[in-house]
Symmetry: C2
Subunit: 407 residues, 2 copies
């Protein structure tokens, strides 16, 4: 059962925003057993939208449109869909009431633009948008389905989860989607590809392997569509796990910071971080996991050296002798942070994110990471890369991984 | 001069990754005067790629392909392009040498997969990839151009910036792209749309207005393509600025945290943050701006109450009487943080990110923010929303904005 996603929006074509909706939808739909065969972005133009719908309907059974509706640009998309499905707009009291109730809740006045959103195509099934003002519209023609929904991520996700995916699953017979995820580190993408050359060559029809490298980590996904592959899939995923050996961190979907959180909860340990170049990113990643307050107590972001000395009580002489990006300094940062915030474990990072600050001895991308656990310290030096964004992101991942490995 | 972007990759269709490349490319190309008329994602299949190229060539002058090449899946895309352009693969010593030099620099062994990348289509112009192993391929047919480049963001950006955009600008006569950006806050998207209804109705042909809402901020972009619009554009952008009035934070492209950085540098002030529910995100945003070390000294992420008491010296009785999410607590957090880290200013945030922790009196999304500046405090309460991710992101933006407004 093939799906194409069409995203409507000039703002995407001029690069104003990144289309995160498509990725989320593709992931959810794939998990539910659907197959996405294409994702297209078009501008806010009737011709472009009509052409895209035409093309996609020739290839797919279901079209999911996001964007192009809402208080700022509603008319054009709705009118385009009316023309496409040979229908006209009618006023819907039900939609108006829905809008009213949402606005009352937000304590905002109803205005003309939003009242306009209560006009809907006559032959569309209207699905009330529970968290926004633009209704979701479901059209059918010759056994195919087109759904038009708002582009606001939270509204789209709610509509997809509560209405669209359940209705599509009812409507079409779904194949089982089998997947196994592997989080890998310590090997480059090309070396990993070489390691897996034979495995991929011998992979049976119907099974696929996808690579996702990301700042020092690589996520692999083995997947297949169809219940008949279950046995083969089990065999191949076990085989892959063995080939990966020590490079494998975990074989589930959880992000690295959640794996660390699980381990800390299991061992009843608490954690703090002392961050310099990572500027709070490690703390942010850890606290983005719900329930982090159970094991994460806090952070000292010692961006300036004075903070390392006065708050973390790092020896001024140590900084002078070895430099602030050094083993001795991160070891003191880690131990003193754990004592100050009173946690069992701590992670300390000190490095040169760039673009300035590098030297021949310590070029941009030089990072020292120390992980501390009840009196024991492990300190390691890394070369993270050349760009500021990459250095900060990689240092954060390597630090979380180093802590995970220590426990 | 019309461009279409085609992204190749199964991993995007199964929602493994978000396609950030297209947004970056679209933004850079638009600024350089090109017009993006579509963005399409297809899977790693010869048929899908061929069909996409066919369709796009009927509409655009230039096709930019990313992905589908590299050590793991090189053959299929290159072979598809060979068939499309009626040519065959030949071995290129130049490419091999380029790969060798990159690997020597990284201290990695050359292997068969990467050696394979030295085979290139005979009638393509080969542009050496200075930061990766897969060469960039430039094809021409009947006055149209197709460029195939790696999907790895850093490699794509380097190729685009150093080679592709310059060559395209030489090849085609570009129109001037006029744009003006406005950062707005304190008004909902629909209320803003209402405020701008007349302005948009009266906007002359050739000018467009795009909205980008993001966690409490809205970025507006007025744009036009063509030097002949210069005068009109100047008039309209001034008109828009006046309509926006107090809702306008700044009329440039800079992110909020950079605006704050500029203000701090101008006034020679230093800043620290005391974060609870935002978990280090404010510090991370501030330090993502190069040169932040000039004004940002550090942060105390006091995720657990014990850290608020022991490190920030917030009164235990205050927490007991008013609760940790209260004006009294954030005021103490801000003032004590500024004293501890020894900065002129500080931002303190305490709130309930969710999903747990809410009550009837203080539901999920309740956030107190205090900004402190040399003895003066401004404390304000916010309702940020319902989802954890949204609450953390909005609280961070509102906190940075509150500090900016105070100065």
């Amino acid at each position: 059962m093939k799906i194409e996603i069409i995203t409507i929006g000039d703002e995407i074509l001029i690069g104003q925003i990144v289309d995160t909706n498509s990725a989320w939808m593709a992931s959810e739909l794939t998990d539910a057993g659907f197959e996405i065969i294409g994702i297209t972005t078009v501008g806010d133009s009737a011709e472009a939208i009509t052409a895209a719908i035409d093309r996609s309907f020739s290839r797919a059974d279901v079209l999911l449109l996001t964007g192009g509706i809402g208080p700022t640009n509603d008319d054009m998309t709705k009118n385009t869909l009316c023309r496409y499905f040979n229908t006209s707009l009618v006023f819907s009291n039900e939609v108006l009431e829905n809008i009213r109730s949402i606005f009352t809740h937000r304590n905002v006045q109803l205005n003309e633009l939003t009242r306009n959103q209560a006009f809907v195509p006559k032959n569309a099934r209207v699905i009330q948008n529970k968290v926004g003002t633009a209704p979701v519209l479901w059209f059918e023609r010759e056994g195919k389905v087109l759904v038009s929904m708002p582009g606001v991520p939270f509204e789209m996700k709610t509509a997809m989860t509560k209405d669209i995916i359940p209705r599509l699953s009812d409507r079409f017979r779904m194949e089982t989607y089998l997947k196994q995820s592997y989080l890998v580190s310590g090997i480059t993408e090309s070396a990993l590809a070489l390691l897996l050359t034979d495995f991929e060559k011998e992979l049976p029809q119907g099974l696929s392997l996808a690579y996702l490298p990301s700042f020092g980590l690589i996520r692999l996904r083995l997947f297949a569509r169809g219940d008949n592959y279950r046995q083969t899939f089990r065999v191949q995923s076990e085989k892959l796990k063995n080939i990966l050996g020590d490079f494998l961190i975990a074989n589930n979907e959880k992000p690295l910071e959640e794996l660390l959180g699980d381990r800390l909860k299991l061992l009843h340990l608490t954690l703090s971080t002392a961050e310099s170049c990572t500027g709070g990113l490690i703390a942010h990643k850890i606290t983005s996991i719900a329930g982090a307050s159970e094991y994460f107590y806090g952070s000292i972001v010692s961006y300036d050296n004075s903070v390392k000395e006065k708050v973390l009580h790092v020896n001024a002489e140590t900084i002078e002798s070895f430099g602030v990006v050094s083993q001795a300094v991160v070891e003191q940062m880690a131990e003193n942070c754990a004592k100050l915030i009173r946690t069992d474990c701590s992670i300390a990072v000190s490095g040169i994110a760039g673009p300035s600050g590098g030297s021949e001895e310590k070029p941009v991308g030089t990072v020292w990471i120390c992980t501390y656990y009840r009196g024991k310290s492990v300190a390691q030096k890394y070369r993270t890369g050349n760009s500021r964004e990459e250095n900060i992101a990689r240092a954060a991942n390597m630090a979380i991984l180093q802590m995970l490995r220590m426990l």
